[in-house]
Amino acid sequence: MKRAFSMPGFAIGFCMAIVFVAAALLSFFWTPYATDGVDIVNKLRPPAAGNWFGTDQYGRDILSMLMVGARTSIAVAVVAVGIGMGLGVPLGLAAAAQKGSLIDEILMRGNDLVFAFPALLIAILITAVFGPSAVNAIIAIGIFNIPVFARLSRGAALSLWTRDFVLSARVAGKGALRISVEHILPNITNLLIVQGTIQFSLGILAEAALSYIGLGAQPPMPSWGRMLADSQTMISFAPHLALFPGAAIVLTVLGLNLMGDALRDLFDPKINRER
């Protein structure tokens, strides 16, 4: 961990991410203003001392909206990555353990099938069937994450299966399940952490995109993507409406990507040696 913080990319990315997490946590207890009240008198105020980031067309404080919106974004991303890892990793490990078998073929072709549709398309499909909501957005993004983790863990596990220590575990009579849990999984955790950070930032982006087209979080629940969508018609006379949610998305994703990149470098023994 110490070594991680000595890398500028990780330190900067970590700080950026922590600011947004802290804002989301804080919003449970306190926001500068309530986000569900309408205050038409103060609508479309530019950033000023009272409202740092200004107010929207209903007079709601943008900073408060962003804080509560961070909650939605982070929750969606965490659960979506959780679904992807929780289902994708076991599937990938199972496919690797039975390499070349029918199970492997079915799992991997199923993967290809999910991969063949863009994440957004799956999301539109799901929300078209079950109706737009934050929960459905989570499920849609989570499903898209499954093949990502399944492929990654299968590929990494395949190379581990040829190693001697796995062979000696087989000589010790251990079955595929036990070997996968005891020997394979601990050796691919690094990869999973790195991929997790990247998928996390993609999840935030996907949630914003879904909310932007109206398929994610529904009003009055604030969401960065919907704030952007709502500001579209007013961008000429109230640009701050688009600026702040947009900046929040960019900074969070940038921070997480910086972290992911740094973690990848940290865990890659080849890069470490050159250091």
């Binding site: 190693r163 001697d164 220590f165 000696s168 010790a172 009579g173 601990p186 050796n187």
Partner: protein
Amino acid sequence: MGLLQIKNLNLSIGDTQILQDISLQAEAGKIVAIIGESGSGKSMTAYCVNRLLPRGANVSGQVMFDGQDMLQLPEPALCDIRGADIGMVFQEPMTALNPVQTIGAQVAETVLIHGAAQKSEALKIARETLNRVGLPAAEFPLSRYPHELSGGQRQRVVIAMAIALRPKLLIADEPTTALDVTTQAQILGLLKKLVVEDGMALLLISHDLGVVADIADTIAIMRRGKVVESGPVKQVFAEMNHPYTRALFKASNHVPDRAAKAQETPILQVSGLVRDYILPRKSLFGAPPKLRAVNDVGFSIKRGESLGLVGESGCGKSTLTRAILGLDAVQAGRIEIDGRAVTAGEKVPRELRRKMQVVFQDPYGSFNPRHKVMRLVAEPFHLLDNAPTGSARHQAVEKALTEVGMLAADADKYIHEFSGGQRQRIAIARALIIKPELIILDEAVSALDVSIRAQILDLLAGLSDRLGLSYLFISHDLSVVRAITDRVMVMKSGKIIETGDTETVFTAPQHPYTKALIAAAPVLEKTP
């Protein structure tokens, strides 16, 4: 004055002193061998000559090559010399070639970089050089890719790259270590021929005294960054002034004392064993082709006996091991363990698996890097129905560790804290923990330095005496097999072609392939 003269060379990287006061010289048309165990600084000495040193290296002294001090030359001048005047051959022919370039392009590249010729001319030179290293145009056109060649052929391409511009000095860093014995003999013969033809100097780096004994003119023995003894080969071998030289020589020819006598009852009997691999389909219809890796193999190992299995890479040794251990299903044949038969297609039951354990070649790859030694060594307990738990488990692991000459306290360490030799001891401890009757040693000492190898061989011999263990000793190294086995089998293309008492097979081989193997193996003459 010689072509290459190294005087008082010192090298340190960071705070670590790598080389101390090295002095060597090489003359045109002569072969200088640098011998040493891993970490002795032999490769670093070679890298100092063409100054391919890692960042942070601090070097002092003098490396005079052809009248110039290599340590004083600027980088561009060094680039002109590297490849043109100093050629280099690496250990691993699999990784020394670029897999996406043809062999012709790679050999011609050396010529082109140095601006010695135009493209068409360079390809002509490449062709001639490949002819010289024994890759004739008819079978090996320039358009071949490295993956189409065998290990020995690839090493020939690497040599061709190094000698394309007829360098004055060729540095060969363990050029035959990754190769089979018969291929090794051919490559050494080729190097010797090239030295004579081109009148170049050859700096041959090796860990194997036997390899250099035949072909080197002078020899330098290195240990911990110092040259402990050097001089003409005959003189060094005859005098052996330094104790380390004597120790190294002794370790190379080490024969452990073995008292164990084979009993009459067999522990393992194999008959008519067949193992096929299914290859990718050639056409949509019809059965996919098969590769018969193990073809009708039969043998038996008696209790307390040590049986050797020799053969070159790809002969089916490892496949046979996996079949015996019950890791892969076999297509035909019978395996009888301790009197109980297991037929083809049947799973080997746990109570029979318990009687066999295995030690692999690579001391680095055979342990999960994330577990402690305690957990690693205890792994085979999985095969027992009522494995010891708690403190009994701890005691069993500690006992196994002390049995192989490690400390009980080592159980709490991670595997990366140990050297290659220590890891191999831990691997043996892991095999011993459930008190098996047969241990399969799959090239178990091949990756070790000679002195460590001698210690491990002694350990194995002692264990077999005390515990009545049987060994199936698989190796490509004939001298090791000769030292530790009672009987030996020779395997070629999936078949056992000769079996007999070790001494009989080695002194009077019957099969032409066995004869070729024994003739190709480097022999280190025993001097009184």
